[in-house]
């Protein structure tokens, strides 16, 4: 049967859905709805970046640029009078095209040139946003971006926007998981395992990596558009290197093997940042940003040393060990089934059944 029907694979998705539905009504959390919207938005960017880092094995240090491109396209185009739902795909198209043009020549080269190129791209986009004052407002910000209104419903409260954003986030989680479990996801894992073998078995390694990069850029743009109509004000410094680094921290913290990792990472980083800022203000009595960067650097180093696969796979392994303890070895894993039955689980059943501890999806 289809993989979704398997109860153990449904559990994390059901839990996420339940959490998303009730979170904004929980007593202690109600007052953080605004932050939760931001978590959902940044989780979308982080999932895309996670696909790139975990499955194409490349780091982007400029994902804030794609986020910014989506945000400013939505802002500028909808201010010019077009409907936000028209502005959004224009942003996606623009960002996707730019990502393709940048990535195509870079992925032909081996090694980590993408990190350098995206770093440069981030600086260029940031500078353009700041300098193109007549269009973007520059340092004076782009203000009065219209709120999203669909079929007469205005998404103008934190709660309504929360549900809109998290519906998108959940859709991205699901489609991302589907991708990981698919032929293309397997091909990406194969590239990780042995690039020469993958290529010799018919995997267009360059093309596949480019596609992941474009997808992750487009997700960044989508999130940016969502941000524009939520914040209604865009300021250049939101889209600088600092955010690009934060996004990498989210992915490393949560882990990139599973689509849940970046979501958790986005939550932790977004919610911890104001706390850290406050703490550092009290400690240093002023320049807060510096301490933040130091803490993020520290988190990156500690994760690399102690939990290189991220929190989610680490926790999942721990949970699995607990659950597995009372049962004799072998009863949890899929028993060697006759061919006919194994076929029923589908190619993807094997992904879930991977006993190495890889988190499904």
């Amino acid at each position: 049967m289809s993989k979704l029907a398997h109860p153990s694979s449904l559990l994390p998705y059901g839990s996420l859905l339940l959490l998303v539905l009730v979170a904004p009504h929980l007593p202690g959390i109600r007052s953080f709805r605004h932050e939760l919207v931001l978590v959902g938005i940044l989780a979308i960017v982080a999932i895309g970046l996670g696909l790139l880092m975990g499955y194409a094995g490349q780091v982007s240090l400029g994902h804030a640029a794609f986020y910014g491109l989506g945000a400013y396209t939505s802002g500028v185009v909808s201010k010019a009078g077009l409907h936000p739902l028209v502005a959004l795909p224009i942003g996606l198209l623009l960002t996707g095209t730019l990502a393709y043009v940048v990535a195509r020549p870079i992925f032909r080269l081996h090694g980590h040139y993408l990190a350098m190129a995206t770093l440069g791209l981030g600086v260029i986009v940031f500078t353009l946003i700041r300098q193109l004052e007549p269009i973007t407002g520059g340092q004076h910000s782009l203000i009065d971006i219209p709120r999203l209104e669909v079929a007469g419903f205005r998404f103008d409260t934190d709660l309504s926007y929360y549900y809109l954003v998290w519906a998108c986030t959940c859709a991205v989680v699901l489609t991302g998981r589907n991708l990981i479990d698919s032929r293309s996801g397997l091909a990406l894992r194969a590239i990780h395992g042995s690039e020469v073998a993958a290529e010799s078995l018919g995997v267009d390694t360059t093309g596949t990596k480019v596609k992941v990069f474009v997808l992750s850029a487009v997700l960044g743009s989508l999130a940016g558009s969502l941000y524009a109509h939520f914040s209604t004000v865009l300021t250049p410094h939101t889209f600088g290197l600092e955010l690009s680094i934060q996004l990498v921290v989210m992915v490393v913290l949560g882990g990139s093997e599973s689509v849940f990792g970046p979501v958790l990472g986005a939550a932790l980083v977004t919610l911890l940042t104001p706390i850290m800022r406050e703490m550092s203000r009290q400690i240093t009595g002023g320049s807060g940003g510096q301490v933040e960067i130091v803490v993020f650097g520290l988190i990156l180093m500690l994760m690399m040393v102690f939990l290189p696969r991220g929190l989610v796979p680490g926790l999942a392994a721990l949970f699995r060990r607990r659950a597995a303890a009372p049962a004799p070895i072998g009863t949890l894993g899929p028993a060697p089934v006759p061919a006919g039955q194994a076929v029923e689980t589908g190619a993807l059943g094997a992904v879930r059944a991977d006993p190495t501890g890889r988190e499904p999806g």
Partner: protein
Amino acid sequence: MAAVAVAAPPLLETRGLTRVFGGLVAVSAVDQAVRAGTIHAIIGPNGAGKTTLFNLLSGVLPPTRGEIRFGDARIDGRLPHQICRLGLARTFQNLQIFANMTVLENVIVGRHGRSSAGFLSAMLRLPAARAEAQAACTVALSWLDFVGLAPRADDPAGSLPYGQQRLLELARALAAEPTLLLLDEPAAGLLGREKDNLADLLARIRSSGVTVLLVEHDMGLVMSVADRVTVLNYGKKLFEGSPDEVQADPDVVVAYLGAPEGA
């Protein structure tokens, strides 16, 4: 019958195929034809250029000079994934299994060139993509069964013993349904009974219509399964003939006396 086979154009043909590494000519002006339906062995001492030849044929390395024809197509200069889709699959002397996957998943990757679902249909779980994934799984399982690894389908590939990892590479390459299969030392590290099993598999692969190009140091295996043998030495083609002719050729004996393992 024999006359017909000789008249048919070769499945694979190289002309003046050359690969230079710095000052070293690893493959030197090799003219080689491989006839369809045969097991053609390439032998030669260590460093003779056998693996480099495979890397040229499969597109892993571009040739410095020369032509490669596969079926109707010129394939020199093409990328490995393009060559694979034309029907050429290979295994690796230094194993290249995907240790981060299960045994079955390794073989499913072998179906990549024979399937087509893209990112979008995968993300949306379109019925066509799911059907294709299930079909790939079925075919992969049947190839695992062919090499005798079906019981280990769900095990992590890295947990297989060495000899079974070689069989896994064989199953993975077969899953691509090649017309030409390049095997780089498939018997290396195999034990006696495993070698007999391999010889048996090779014969069955040939009788299924797949042409095999075999690099192998185990002369017993080569002489028992090969229809034709080419000897490489210092990148050059030294000799080509039937297994019996090769064993009788004085040049070949000399070339092998220089090598530690002898002929």
